[in-house]
């Protein structure tokens, strides 16, 4: 068994392609074939227009920091303080994540700073999309 102590996602048939993508190092989103709406989290229909004509695609992995908190009370597997962020993907949807490869301080958290996805292995099957400040990016 894994010594991974943090909560693990349990994929469903509808979300499995997202987690398969993450395992392959790809951030996959869905786009509506009828209204072009790009959305997250996964479901086999468009939440904007109810169309079932939707397709998966590989997103850019680029995002910007939309908001965050810094948790000072660590649950098992986490080391406080740590950032829990919501990022806005370049394609539009937002997602919760952790920010890595940067100080976990308010000073290091500049809203709207550019970020890029990095996949962290949790188990053999689960890789979590996390985000780090973009290399060489300016504000």
């Amino acid at each position: 068994m894994s010594d991974y102590l943090k909560p693990l996602p349990q994929p469903t048939p509808e979300t499995q392609p997202f987690w398969d993508g993450a395992k392959a190092g790809e951030l996959k989103l869905q786009r509506c074939g009828d209204c072009d709406h790009v959305y997250f989290p996964a479901r086999p229909f468009c939440p904007a227009c109810s169309s079932r004509k939707v397709d998966w695609f590989v997103a850019s992995g680029r995002a910007r920091l939309h908001s965050y908190v810094i948790n000072h009370r660590a649950p098992p597997g986490f080391e406080a303080p740590y950032v829990i962020a919501v990022v806005e993907l370049d394609e539009g949807p937002r997602m919760m994540t952790n920010l890595i490869d940067c100080a976990q301080t308010p000073e290091a958290m500049i809203l709207d700073m550019p970020l890029e996805v990095a996949f962290e292995k949790a188990t053999d099957d689960i890789f979590l999309p996390k985000f780090r400040p973009s290399a060489g990016a300016s504000q």
């Binding site: 997250f40 965050y68 810094i70 986490f78 919501v86 997602m95």
Partner: protein
């Protein structure tokens, strides 16, 4: 829907409030229910409608010895009780039942007999939020705050002031958990919980509950209590995940619910004498004032700092001390409703003299749901 024809005739909180390890959660429901029945001279035999959250209506009805002809188990978090009031008014108007009991009981602090529903790892929040380490409401609810600060130019001091002014109200309430005055510096020096919020910007954790009894306005004068009429109601839901809240500076559920309640009641903002906005955390009154239309976006912090919601202000807000200083069981909405009823009855510890209309606005989950009730002590 003719909700103007329904009134609250029975209302009470649990006998005790605070740390109550000698009572299970369902007994807190029952204690509040028995108090509310005694308040209006009824027993369980008179109740034919039961609405509750935390326990199922089956558990609560059975425990109290009621076999109802109408139930509502809407459980969307702390504003469930506002939504129960809305549904009960509709049910009474439709003739589905005559006398509705709404109960809340929560062993939020002691955890005795508490039903804890934890989303599965396969749920959307289990897959797409829990892996990143949110630890309950203190890490999820304040997620929009930093965005709000950037968009609206709000400051840490603005969010601290919310707690300072609510403590002023709590000081007037003997039943409040905290009474001692606090300053903005006290708030900003208190222990960090989840930046940007510190201990004094997070709600209390208490055991307790409350109950309401509703009947048609026609019957309201048959009771010994002063009727509190329901002028308008609203409800909505947005997202189970804070990360998927559409706009981090405004709650869609607040806007839908508030507009519905104001629309039904036909009142304007200037008609409101007293206001409750569910304050699990210090940003909620600011979001509530803006989303319900009392302030323009970005102006609520200045409205609060300008003492408009403080004792002596034109819009007394959270006059029991709120979830920040009065009590917070987990699903606080019932306590906000109880304070609105007390204000309309003229029995609140910090009574607003001459108040005729009270708006009570609740939130459920992390901006997930909302319910709004417009009360009046004058028959519509």
């Amino acid at each position: 829907m003719k909700q103007k024809s329904v009134a609250v005739v029975g209302a009470s909180e649990t006998t005790e409030l605070g740390k109550l390890p000698h009572m299970s959660q369902i007994q807190l429901h029952a204690d509040a229910a028995l108090n509310a029945m005694r308040d209006c001279g009824l027993t369980a035999r008179d109740i034919d409608g039961v609405a509750t959250a935390g326990q199922t209506p089956v558990e609560t009805a059975h425990y109290l010895g009621i076999t109802p002809s109408w139930v509502d188990g809407t459980a969307v978090g702390g504003c469930s009780f506002m939504i129960h009031v809305r549904h009960a008014a509709a049910a009474i108007n439709e003739g589905l039942c005559n006398t509705v009991l709404i109960t809340h009981g929560e062993s939020g602090r002691s955890g005795i007999g508490r039903n804890r529903v934890v989303p599965a790892p396969s749920s959307l929040i289990g897959q797409f939020e829990f892996p990143y380490g949110p630890m309950g409401p203190p890490t999820m609810f304040p997620m929009p705050v930093m965005r709000y600060m950037k968009e609206m130019g709000a400051t840490h001091e603005d969010f601290a002031m919310v707690a300072v002014i609510q403590r002023e109200w709590a000081a007037k309430n003997p039943r409040a958990t905290f009474h001692d005055p606090i300053s903005v510096d006290d708030v900003l020096d208190s222990r960090m919980i989840a930046y940007p919020f510190r201990l004094l910007q997070c709600c209390l954790v208490t055991d307790g509950g409350g109950a309401l009894i509703l009947v048609s306005a026609e019957r309201a004068n048959d009771f010994q209590t002063k009727p509190v009429y329901i002028l308008g109601t609203g409800e909505s839901v947005e997202s189970p995940m804070i990360s998927q809240m559409k706009n981090f500076t405004s709650s869609s559920a607040f806007r839908v619910s508030g507009a519905k309640a104001f629309g039904e009641s036909g009142i304007g903002h200037n008609d409101v004498d007293h206001m409750m906005i569910y304050d699990a955390f210090a940003h909620l009154p600011i979001f509530g004032l803006e989303d319900l239309g009392f302030c323009e976006p970005g102006e609520a912090a200045g409205f609060i700092a300008g003492r408009n919601t403080a004792p002596g202000g034109k819009l007394p807000l959270n006059t029991n001390g709120g979830g920040l200083s009065y009590a917070h069981s987990g699903m606080y909405g019932m306590f906000a409703l109880q304070e609105s009823v007390r204000q309309m009855r003229g029995t609140a510890p910090a009574q607003i003299e001459g108040a005729k209309i009270s708006v009570c606005h609740g939130v459920g989950g992390m901006f997930s749901a909302s319910g709004t009730i417009v009360f009046s002590n004058e028959a519509p």
